[in-house]
């Protein structure tokens, strides 16, 4: 990655307090276009909180987040996918009573425009738009190896499948930056291996920059170009995986200080 390239995502001095608790304390880092960046830290370090700031579920008390030079904090929550940020959730937030296909089609909401009246009258333009949405959704379902589940209702599906559906749904909006919140949680060894390939393909084939929160160290270390480590809401390290692994602060955060 060129040193002087402009970052896709830039987090500057982000601080978030919940009452007396400081969940994020002056966190700053950059994600370059085309990177896979890992955000790690012990439980309760503030990783998901930061994600929630990026997708506008939380409002930071201080700091600035810019995406392609534009302030993210000035964009309302539902416009976030329009500027190119997509995400998945730690607990997998699917639309349970919709099918896999419909879930992925909802992901295309931000790239389509038919309103209530056009839909109710089923104008020809709606038919065309729907057909295009369906084609795109089916493509992504195939990309994520979900074809066998296309018409299944999301509620009953096994957890690893649900995670893949969520990923396909996030990709449907054609994000430039994809936020993955613990994509490996609840997956077995083989499934994590598959996931690693999928994350790489998302970047290499779809051209999406990825920022992932993860506890699964071997996954983060092997897939990431860059790793940011937070602990107690503060950034304690930032760099290439091999650099971060040697960092004494990181070792202390994970293993505790010797007595």
């Amino acid at each position: 990655m060129a040193e002087n390239a402009t970052p896709l995502l830039s987090v500057r001095g982000v601080t978030l307090r919940f009452g007396g608790v400081v969940a994020l304390d002056n966190v700053s880092f950059d994600v370059m276009p085309g990177q896979i960046a890992g955000l790690i830290g012990p439980n309760g370090a503030g990783k998901t909180t930061l994600f929630n700031c990026l997708s506008r579920l939380y409002q930071p008390s201080a700091g600035e987040i810019t995406f392609e030079g534009q302030s993210v904090l000035a964009v309302p929550r539902h416009k976030i996918p329009m500027i190119g940020i997509g995400r998945t959730f730690q607990n997998v937030a699917l639309f349970d009573r919709l099918t896999v296909l419909e879930n992925v089609m909802v992901g295309r909401h931000s790239r389509t425009s038919a309103g209530f009246v056009e839909n109710a009258l089923r104008l020809p333009s709606v038919g065309r738009e729907e057909a295009a949405v369906r084609v795109k959704a089916l493509e992504l379902i195939e990309f994520m190896n979900l074809t066998a589940f296309t018409d299944r209702v999301a509620a009953g599906l096994p957890f690893p499948i649900r995670k893949r559906v969520e990923l396909a749904r996030a990709l449907a909006a054609e994000p430039k930056l994809l936020l993955l919140d613990e994509p490996a949680a609840g997956l077995n060894h083989d499934e994590v291996h598959t996931l690693e390939g999928q994350i790489r393909r998302v970047r290499d084939v779809q051209g999406v920059t990825v920022l992932l929160v993860e506890h699964h160290m071997s996954l983060v270390m092997s897939v990431s170009d860059k790793v940011v480590v937070v602990n107690f809401g503060r950034k304690i390290a930032d760099g290439r995986p091999d650099e971060v692994r040697q960092n004494p602060d990181v070792i202390r955060a994970y293993l505790g200080t010797a007595a």
Binding site: F89, A93, F95, D96, L98, H109, S110, A114, V126, E130
Partner: protein, 345 residues
């Protein structure tokens, strides 16, 4: 019930068949000698009107996940809009329908804004107040000149056009059927497209829906408005077919009837709305007949209360078909097809 009902093969054919069947029913009037046929037609109108009201409520509760106990208020608003326009404006009955729809849509939209802050039980309570306030408001002295106060407004039943050769009740049945078909078609389209997916996504996971780019406030308020508008059309049709509106026809009990029709027919099911509409009319009537029959057959000294019979019927039905009649039919169908497959193997 699977969610992709709208895209299933056979949905169009099934719907067409059902509507054609309903359209043929009044023709029995030309061959039957039964003197109460016009009364049956009147019951048919009521069923269709309830079906439309349940359709409106289903859009809100079944598909969008917002509960309302206040839809009797929108029904009343629609009915009074029609009554006042016909009585004071001299409007033809058909021209009042779109006005009732718009008035109720706006009222629903306005109520949808405060409803944004309320969920679940709290929304139920807030809408409950609508239902109990409406009859009182309609009796309010200052507007009694328009609403007729406690006494309500008497209207003229519209005459069918000469060339149709239909009786008044056959004609009004067709009017209700036409409105029902148009509204079901519009809602069906709405639900199978982008707006429908957004409406259902909000029901299933509001936060995830907002991160998909769905404007929650907009979709929820508009869904509330459309729901109220549809129920308002049902109210307007009821004013036309009954030719009378009075405050005490629009109590909380009416809201509960809609809710019963919705649950019995099937939550988030469009055919279920028609079934629910029929259920509301049939079962409330048949509870009385069962009560009469029991008194006669068992030579009881006192009447068995009809509402107790209604309650037992409802309990039994919910026990046997927890996801409503439409849901039960879907399950029987699924069982039938898998059985066929098993035997083929």
């Amino acid at each position: 019930m699977t969610a992709n009902w709208a895209n299933k093969r056979g949905v169009g054919a099934g719907a067409l068949l059902a509507w054609a069947g309903l359209a043929l029913l009044p023709l029995i009037g030309f061959i039957t000698e039964n003197t109460s046929f016009d009364y049956y037609m009147y019951m048919g109108q009521s069923m269709l009107i309830y079906a439309i009201a349940v359709l409106g409520l289903n859009l809100l509760i079944g598909f969008n996940g917002q509960i309302s106990l206040g839809h009797s208020a929108f029904f009343a608003l629609g009915a009074y809009t029609t009554a006042i326009l016909m009585n004071f404006g001299g409007w033809p009955y058909w021209a009042t329908l779109p006005v009732a729809a718009v008035v109720c849509f706006l009222a629903g939209l306005a109520f949808g804004f405060p409803a944004l802050k309320l969920e679940g039980h709290y929304l139920a309570l807030a809408t409950f107040t609508l239902a109990i306030a409406m009859p009182q408001l309609l009796k309010y002295k200052a507007i009694a000149g328009w609403t007729g106060g406690v006494g309500g407004v008497l209207l003229d039943k519209p005459d069918p056009p000469e060339w149709t050769g239909l009786s008044a009740d056959q004609f009004l049945y067709y009017l209700c059927l036409f409105c029902a078909m148009v509204l079901f078609w519009l809602v069906f389209n709405l639900l199978r497209g982008r707006s429908g997916r957004a409406i259902m996504a909000i029901r299933d996971h509001t936060m995830a829906a907002s991160t998909m780019g769905i404007d929650i406030a907009r979709y929820k308020t508009v869904a509330f408005g459309i729901s109220a508008g549809i129920t308002g059309i049902a109210g307007a049709l009821s004013a036309i077919t009954v030719a009378y509106v009075a405050p005490d026809s629009f109590t909380l009990q009416l809201s509960i009837s809609f809710l019963v029709g919705l649950v019995v027919g099937g939550i988030a099911s469009l055919p279920g709305c028609l079934i629910g509409g029929a259920f509301i009319v049939l079962v409330q009537n048949s509870a009385q007949s069962i009560s009469d029959w029991m008194k006669g057959t068992f030579a009881l000294r006192y009447d068995v209360p009809a509402w107790a019979i209604y309650g037992v019927l409802l309990l039994a039905l919910m026990y046997v078909l927890p996801d409503g009649i439409a849901g039960g039919c879907a399950r029987i169908r699924a069982w039938w097809t898998t059985r066929g497959r098993r035997e083929a193997q």
